[in-house]
């Protein structure tokens, strides 16, 4: 394990890079694979300094599950937001919502913020790292507490599970 | 198509030159940037305007437009980027030396 860790210090990142490389390649040939692997091993090592306190993905499966949830949410919620955008504006109730966080990692909090921003109807405005609060702007928010709960349940909890934080 | 591109070139040139003739350095920088767009388009247009004919000798690309102007434009883009960067640095230096923006001497008021 430690040998492997020494060889591949950031396995997820390396996998992502390899995937990116192979996706970009016109054809997936053995040559491209080798080249991609070299790149995927080298770049994280070269850029390690730029990513201090790199969080470790403890449970990749949980992360994949979360990704599925988010993608589905994006599709579903998009239609809902579409209706609101073309609908009458006076029915909109935009609001700022504070989401208290349980996680304590800046990067993971940022991922949470991104998920919030990517899912329709909400945008992350700020992450307060002293009080660990995520500030969210909701396009049409009738029940703030429900929004907070949804975010914490659907996104924060799986994230904490995946990153073990 | 030709008329539209020519009009765009003319517009860029005119706006760019108008700004280049202003007194403030920053306007001049903006003007030169617009002018460089115009110039690049002229140079690009010298190979004529063709859609869907990239100069790539690969499968699935049956027609090829003139590659030479594209190479020239690429050179010109990079050069004009370097110039912009240099000009900005120079403008800052001039400001640092004279304590004000705009060109020394200026125009009689």
């Amino acid at each position: 394990m430690s040998v492997l860790h020494a060889l591949v210090p950031a396995p997820v990142l390396s996998l992502m890079i390899l995937g990116l490389w192979l996706a970009l390649a016109p054809q997936i040939t053995p040559g491209q694979f080798v080249l991609g692997a070299v790149v995927a091993l080298a770049i994280p090592r070269l850029t390690a300094a730029f990513w201090p306190d790199r969080p470790r993905l403890a449970r990749p499966l949980a992360a994949l599950r979360l990704a599925g949830t988010v993608l589905a949410d994006i599709v579903v919620a998009n239609f809902a937001v579409a209706r609101r955008v073309v609908g009458p504006l006076h029915r909109l109730h935009p609001a700022f919502v504070e989401v208290p966080l349980d996680l304590r990692d800046g990067f993971v909090a940022t991922i949470l913020g991104s998920i919030v921003s990517l899912t329709p109807g909400t945008v992350s405005i700020e992450i307060d790292r002293e009080r660990w609060i995520l500030f969210v702007h909701a396009l049409d928010d009738t029940d703030p507490q429900q929004l907070v709960d949804t975010i914490k349940r659907r996104y924060e909890a799986p994230l904490r599970e995946a990153f073990a934080c | 198509m030709e008329l539209i591109v020519a009009a765009g070139i003319g517009l860029l040139t005119a706006c760019g030159l108008y700004l280049v003739l202003r007194a403030e350095t920053f306007s001049v920088v903006l003007g030169l940037t617009l002018l460089s767009y115009a110039v690049n388009l002229v140079l690009f247009a010298s190979g004529r305007l063709v859609a869907n004919a990239p100069p790539l000798l690969v499968e699935g690309v049956p027609r090829h437009t003139d590659p030479l102007p594209q190479a020239l434009v690429l050179t010109a883009i990079v050069i004009s980027f370097g110039m912009t960067a240099y000009l900005v640095a120079l403008a800052l230096r001039a400001k640092g030396e004279s304590g004000r923006d705009g060109f020394d001497g200026g125009d009689p008021t």
């Binding site: - | 030159l17 280049v20 350095t25 001049v28 030169l32 002018l35 460089s36 115009a38 110039v39 690049n40 002229v42 140079l43 690009f44 247009a45 010298s46 190979g47 004529r48 003139d66 030479l68 102007p69 020239l72 050179t75 010109a76 050069i79 004009s80 370097g82 110039m83 240099y86 000009l87 120079l90 403008a91 230096r93 001039a94 640092g96 030396e97 004279s98 060109f103 020394d104 001497g105």
Partner: protein
């Protein structure tokens, strides 16, 4: 495979890169590299002159791609001459700079070498777009050299110069685009062939494109009314930079000469593109430069104004356009470049020897080494004003003789002769201020020893007398160059006997 033609570009380029790499190693190392490269350039220039002097035309196909498809360098008499002048100017300027000017800012030696590379590239290339690229190389280096040492005047002069030249570059590219878009080639020799075959329906377009190109060259050459920028800009630069700038306007003149005699003259569509207006504007340039010299309050600005005069003089000869006139122009070009360059160095010496008064026309302290400086001043002043027995007189004599029969000849004579007298009076007045009206210096200054700058300046001092001593060979070379420019030999060397290969009509 002889690589002679490309050495003048690669050598300074390599030296510039080395200077960059040695930035941490300190100035001494950079000076050593830079001076060694400049010395080697002198040797290379001698080889080039010897080779081109046989009448041979070397075509160097970069990347081994034949013209007109690849870029070719053309080493003929003219380009060899220009490279040699550049080398002769660069070495003393570098020696001067190594006396301490180079420490006033960063990257002096790298920029200087790159500028030489740019100049030589512009002289040697046979490709119009490549000419643009080398123009940019030399311009960018010159921007850096112009503001070297910083200060308000330099920064402001730099802004004006950069903005003007950026606009000029834009114009160059527009002209290039239009020319390529009609003639379908970038090689200058090939362009001449294409120009000769332009159908009547395209002639207005081609002419206009060519005229825009001429405007660009006229800007570089500082032809009236595009000459106003020059005195204050050149006058602002540190002496060795200004010295090297003495050849920059000549690049414009060179380009104008090259395209007008090699490309434009042979084609009906462009044959009369310069004739109707070049001579009057050249005369106006002489007048403008003379006025500038009269108006100047500093020696360097006077010299810079005289650079404008030299442009006007050169272009007057080029406008007259006979073999004799071109030959005269080339002799004059060598003379005026070297003398103006040396004079810039001298102005720098005077400025540093006079303390606060600098090279301004106001009473200051007695210059240290006043006798040496005064003697050098006399030589440069005589040479630049065209007073016998120095080279300026010979050059002026040739120009006067060769433009006598040209249209506006009497006017040009008047302008030329006035441009000798009035600046001479200005220079006499300046000498009076510098050397005769001075107040004794408060105490002996550190400048008293003869350093590298003085050595450089004294080296340049030799140029004019040498040009007198070797007037006949130089004049013969100039004449042979003028004849070579007119002959189809260069075109044949570049393109072979049948230039119309491998082109096809594109939809």
């Amino acid at each position: 495979m002889s690589h002679l033609a490309i050495i003048p570009i690669l050598l300074p380029l390599a030296a510039g890169i080395a200077c960059l790499a040695l930035e941490r190693a300190g100035l001494v190392a950079q000076r050593a590299v830079s001076l060694a490269a400049a010395l080697m350039m002198m040797a290379v220039a001698a080889l080039l002159l010897r080779h081109a002097g046989t009448g041979a035309i070397d075509v160097y196909a970069l990347g081994n791609w034949p013209a007109p498809f690849g870029i070719v360098l053309v080493l003929d008499r003219l380009s060899a001459l220009m490279v040699a002048v550049c080398a002769a100017l660069a070495l003393p300027a570098l020696i001067y700079a190594s006396g301490g000017t180079d420490a006033l800012g960063r990257h002096f030696h790298a920029l200087f070498q790159f500028q030489i590379a740019g100049l030589n590239g512009a002289f040697l290339t046979g490709d119009l777009f490549n000419l643009f690229v080398f123009f940019e190389v030399l311009l960018l280096a010159s921007y850096g050299l112009l503001v070297h040492g910083n200060g308000r005047a330099r920064a402001n002069a730099g802004l004006a110069y950069v903005v003007l030249n950026l606009t000029g570059s834009a114009l160059f590219l527009i002209a290039l685009g239009l020319l390529y878009g009609t003639l379908g080639t970038l090689n200058m020799a090939d362009m001449a062939h294409a120009l000769a075959r332009v159908p009547a329906a395209d002639q207005a377009l081609v002419r206009t494109a060519a005229s825009l190109l001429v405007v660009v060259f006229a800007l570089k050459a500082a032809l009236f009314p595009l000459s106003f920028w020059l005195p204050s800009v050149y006058g602002a630069a540190v002496a060795p930079a200004a010295a090297l700038f003495a050849i920059m306007t000549k690049v414009g003149v060179y380009a104008l000469l090259r395209v007008s005699s090699a490309s434009f003259a042979g084609a009906p569509v462009t044959a009369d593109l310069l004739q109707p207006w070049l001579m009057p504007l050249a005369i106006a340039t002489i007048v403008a430069g003379t006025l500038g010299a009269l108006a100047a309050r500093r020696l360097a600005v006077v010299v810079a104004s005289l650079v404008v005069v030299s442009t006007g003089t050169l272009l007057a000869a080029i406008a007259a356009s006979g073999i004799e006139a071109i030959a005269a122009a080339l002799f004059y070009l060598v003379h005026s470049t070297l003398v103006a360059g040396g004079f810039f160095l001298l102005a720098g010496r005077i400025a540093s020897a006079r303390g606060e008064a600098g090279d301004g026309f106001r009473t200051g302290q007695t210059a240290t080494r006043a006798v040496t400086l005064g003697a050098a001043y006399l030589v440069f002043a005589l040479a630049i004003s065209g007073v016998p027995p120095l080279s300026g007189f010979l050059a002026k004599l040739m120009i006067l003789r060769s433009i006598q029969e040209a249209p506006f000849g009497p006017l040009a004579w008047t302008a030329l002769l006035s441009s000798s007298l009035l600046p001479a009076l200005v220079l006499a007045r300046a000498a009076s201020v510098f050397f005769w009206e001075a107040k004794p210096a408060p105490a002996a200054t550190a400048e008293a020893r003869l350093g590298l700058p003085a050595l450089a300046m004294l080296t340049m001092l030799a140029a004019s007398p040498l040009l007198v001593a070797f007037a006949a060979p130089v004049a013969d070379y100039a004449r042979a160059t003028a004849m070579q420019l007119r002959s189809p030999a260069a075109s044949e060397a570049v393109l072979g006997a049948d230039p119309a290969t491998a082109r096809e009509r594109r939809p």
